[in-house]
Amino acid sequence: MTALVSPVVPETIPSATPYLQMRGITKAFGTLLANDHVDLTVRDREIHAVVGENGAGKTTLMNILYGLIHPDSGEIVIDGSPVRIRGPRDAIAVGIGMVHQHFQLVPVMTVAENVVLGQEPGGIVVDRRAAVRQVGELSERFGLVVDPTARVETLPVGVQQRVELLKILYRGSRLLVFDEPTAVLTPQETDELFEILRGLVAGGKTVILITHKLNEVMAISERVTVLRQGRNAGELETAKTSPAEIARAMVGREVLLRVERDEAHIGEERLRLDGLKANSDRQLPALDGIDLTIRSGEIVGIAGVSGNGQLELAEVIAGLRPVTDGHVFLGGEDVAHQTTAERRVHGLAYIPEDRQARGLVLPFDVKDNLILGSQSRPPFAQRGQRNSDAVDERAKELIQRYDIRPPDPEAPAQSLSGGNQQKVVVARELAENPKVLVAAEPARGLDVGATEFIHRQLIEQRDHGLAILLISSELDEIFSLSDSIAVIYRGHIVEVVPSAAADRERIGLLMAGGTIEGGTPSASQVAQAAAALANEPPGTPPVESAHQ
C-alpha cells in the first residue's frame, strides 16, 4: 500500500566490513559456465538487488549461497570469516534464509504449523498454542499481517509468501534471499511486500532480492549487482543510476524500455463481443455480459486484478471454454459455437497466458511446435500425410525471422529459455497472418531483452493492421502498448478509455471496483480499492492493516 500510505524509509547504517562476500564463485554445468568468477558484496542491513537476464546465473549464485549447489571454486565470507556451506542446513545455521519462487508450504496445515514445521515447540507433543503465540509475535514484530490459525490453502498468494518469510524469520535468519518474489504477486501485493522488506531492514535484517524487473530495483534496492552470461557486469548504487544504465549492463547493449509507437491507424471491426457470458472452472459465472469491440490496427488492453475474468475471456474467445450466452463475432461472423480449429481458420491467433502448460508441447521439437494449430492444414498436411519439407521450411524461416536460439529446429522446446519459448509461440501465432490476436501475459517472466522484442513484434503487427486484445496483469505493459484500455472487474467491462486519456490512479480504482463521479476518491474508497487489489475475496470487508 505504499502508493497510498507513506512508506517507511529504512535507516541504513553503513559498516566497514561487508556482511556477506562471495568471491570468485565459479560453477560449470557441463560446458556451460553458469557462474564465472562472480563476486557479490552485500552490506549489513541493505536491500541488495541481484539482477540479470534469464540464464545470467542469478539463481545459480543464490543456490550456491544456500548450499543447494556446490561451487567449483570460490569462497563465501560472512562477517569477515569464511564459511563452508554444504547444504541448506549449514546455510540456516549461519543465518541465511531463502524465500523460494515456488512456495514450500503444506496447504492443509495452518500458518503456525507451517512456520514451526521442523522446529516445533514442546516436547513429544507439539505445543500448538505456543506455536500460534510465537508466530503471532513474530508477525507482529515484522509487520506481517497474517492469521496464525488460518489454513494456508485458503490464503491468497501474497499472504502465503508472508508465511514463507515467517518460516525463515522463525529460524532466526539474518540474511533473507528472495528469488523473484514478485513474479506471483499483483502490483498491490508487490507494494505491500516492499513495505515489509523495508520493515525487515529497519529491524536489522539484510535482504538480497533476485529480480529482472527494473522498476522494482529502482523502487526498493540500495545497491545492485548486475550479472550477464555468468559474469559480473556491474555493481551500482541505485540512487546514482538509471533503469537504462542497469538495462544496458544486463543486456550488453542499449535497450528501449518503452516501446515507441506511432498513432494507430484504426480500420474495420475485427472482433466484437456481445453480451458474452461464460463460467469459471468451478461453474460459477466468470464473465457476466462482456461487450467489447476491437478493430484492425489497434491494441485494446484489458486491465484488471487477476481473477476477474481475464483468463476466461481469452479462453472463451479462443474456443477453449464454452459460451453460456452472447456472441463472439470474428470478422463479422458469429463464431461463439465454433471449435478452436474453425476459429483458427477464421484468422484467430492466441498467445496463451501460460506458454509451458498451454502454448507449447514441451517435449516436441521447435519445428513441431511451430506448426501447432496448423498441423492438419496445407501445406503441412497433404492427402493425410505430413509434408516434412513444408514443416522444415516454415521452421527455418521463423527461427531466422524471430532469432530463436538455439537455431536448431530439432531442439526440444523444453530445452529453450523462457524468452525463446515465447518467441516460438509468438512466431507461430503470427505466422498464419491472423486477423485477430489475443495476447495474454505475452511478456510474463521474460527478461528485459525478450520483453522488448515481444513488445516490438506486437506493435509492428498492429501497424500492419492486426487487431490485438492484450491481457496483462502488468499495468505498465497495458499502458505502454494499448491504444485503449478496458477495465475488467468481476466479469464486467467497467469502462473503456483511450490510453492517452487514461489516468493510472483512476484505472487502478476502477480495477478495484470503485466508481468515480469525477473528483478525487474518498479515503474509504481508497482503502476499499487497496483491499480489493490485494486480492481479497470480493465481498469481504477490507482487513484493518496493522502497519505501525
Binding site: 480449429a341 508441447v361 501447432l372 493425410g384
Partner: protein, 355 residues
C-alpha cells in the same frame, strides 16, 4: 544418433540383467555360463529354434504396438490381452464361417475382422474415457476379463465349438487355404511353422511409425499424449483423438491375437499365455518405438523359447527366464541407476543422451 542414444538404456539393462541373473544362477549352485549357453543355443541354435523364437515373438511385438500406440496418446492400454482375444475370436469366426472362400480374400477378410474386433474392443475404453473420463486402466482391464470369458463361453461347448469336438474347448479348424504361407523353404527346415505373419508384423511396425511420425493424425495423437491442454489450444479435438488412438491400438492387438491361432490352425481355449500382459514389458523395454519394440519382442521371444532348452539340457529351472525378464524390466525402469553407472564409468555424454 538419437535413436542409438535412446537404445542405450535397454541394451545396458539387458547386460545388467544377464549379470545379475548369472549371480542368481551361481547362488543356486549351477554354472551361469552353461545356463546362458544352453538358453542361447535353445533360442537361435538351429533353423527350427530360430523359427520358433520368431513364433513366440510375433504376438508379443504386435501386442506391444497396441500398448505403445495408446501410450503415445497418453493412455495406458493394459488390456491388450482382451483386445487380442477379440481379434482371435473374430478372425476364427470369419475363417470357419467362410470356409469355402478362396485363400487370399479369406486371409484378408480374416485380418480385417481381427483388427476391427480388437479396435472396437479398445475403442470402447477410449470412448468411455473421452465421454465420461473413466480411467482406461480400469476399463481396459475389465474389458479383458469380459473378452476372455466370452471366449470361454464360445469355445466350451458353445456356439463356436464344432459338433465333433469331444468336449475339448476349441473351435473348428481354420480352413487350410486361409493359412499364412510358410516362409522358410523346406531345404532349410522341413515343416517349419514360421509364416508370413512375420512380414505382417514388420508391416505393422512400419504403419505404427508412419502414423505417428508421418501423418498429421500421428502428430495430433502425440500432442494429446504429451500435453492435452496445448493440443486443445492447437485446435485438436482431444476426445476424438483419444478414441481413434485406442481403436488403432486395439487393431494391432487384434492382429496379435490372430497370429498364434493361425499357427495352431485352431482357436483353443485360453490360447494366449498372457501375450497382452507380457507386451506391456516389451513396450517399455522397446521404449515405445517401432524398432525398439521389434527388437525387445525378439529378445523376449528368444528368452521364452530358449528357456525350454535350458531347462531340458542344463537342468536349470525355466523360472530363470522369468527372473531375467523381470530384471530387464527392472533395469529399464531404473534408468536413473543406469545413468549413474554410465557417469561413474566416465560416459558422461552417453548418460546425458540416455536421459
Amino acid at each position: 544418433m538419437r535413436m542409438l542414444a535412446a537404445g542405450i538404456t535397454p541394451v545396458l539393462a539387458v547386460v545388467l540383467a544377464i549379470i545379475v541373473g548369472g549371480i542368481v544362477v551361481l547362488a543356486s549352485g549351477s554354472n551361469p555360463i552353461t545356463a546362458y549357453e544352453s538358453m542361447l543355443v535353445g533360442a537361435v541354435g538351429s533353423p527350427f529354434d530360430i523359427s520358433e523364437t520368431f513364433i513366440s515373438s510375433i504376438p508379443l511385438i504386435l501386442a506391444a504396438y497396441a500398448v505403445s500406440f495408446a501410450f503415445r496418446s497418453g493412455l495406458f492400454n493394459i488390456g491388450a490381452e482382451g483386445q487380442l482375444y477379440m481379434g482371435a475370436i473374430a478372425a476364427t469366426w470369419v475363417a470357419t464361417t467362410l470356409s469355402d472362400w478362396p485363400g487370399l480374400p479369406l486371409i484378408i477378410v480374416c485380418i480385417v475382422a481381427a483388427m476391427a474386433a480388437g479396435g472396437a474392443w479398445a475403442g470402447i475404453a477410449g470412448w468411455l474415457k473421452a465421454k465420461t473420463g473413466a480411467h482406461e486402466v480400469i476399463t481396459t482391464m475389465m474389458l479383458s476379463y469380459v473378452a476372455i470369458d466370452i471366449s470361454h463361453w464360445l469355445l466350451e461347448a458353445g456356439p463356436m465349438t464344432p459338433a465333433n469336438a469331444f468336449g475339448t474347448p476349441e473351435s473348428g479348424p481354420i480352413p487350410p487355404q486361409a493359412a499364412f504361407p510358410v516362409i522358410l523353404p523346406s531345404w532349410i527346415l522341413p515343416n517349419a511353422r514360421l509364416n508370413a505373419s512375420l512380414f505382417l508384423t514388420i508391416l505393422a511396425g512400419l504403419v505404427f511409425a508412419w502414423i505417428l511420425w508421418r501423418t498429421p493424425l500421428g502428430y495430433e495423437i502425440r500432442a494429446v499424449g504429451l500435453n492435452a491442454k496445448a493440443a486443445a489450444y492447437g485446435g485438436i479435438n482431444v476426445a476424438r483423438r483419444l478414441v481413434i488412438a485406442m481403436v488403432i491400438a486395439g487393431a494391432f492387438a487384434g492382429l496379435a491375437g490372430m497370429v498364434p491361432v493361425w499357427v495352431q490352425m485352431r482357436l483353443y481355449d485360453s490360447f494366449s499365455p498372457g501375450y497382452g500382459y507380457e507386451a506391456i514389458a516389451v513396450a517399455l523395454v522397446g521404449k515405445n518405438s517401432a524398432i525398439g519394440i521389434f527388437l525387445a519382442g525378439l529378445l523376449y521371444g528368444a528368452m521364452i523359447h530358449g528357456a525350454v532348452a535350458m531347462q531340458a539340457n542344463a537342468n536349470i529351472s525355466g523360472f530363470l527366464v522369468q527372473i531375467l525378464q523381470a530384471l530387464v524390466l527392472f533395469f529399464v525402469g531404473a534408468e536413473v541407476l543406469i545413468r549413474w553407472f554410465l557417469r561413474r564409468g566416465g560416459f558422461r555424454a552417453l548418460a546425458e543422451a540416455a536421459s
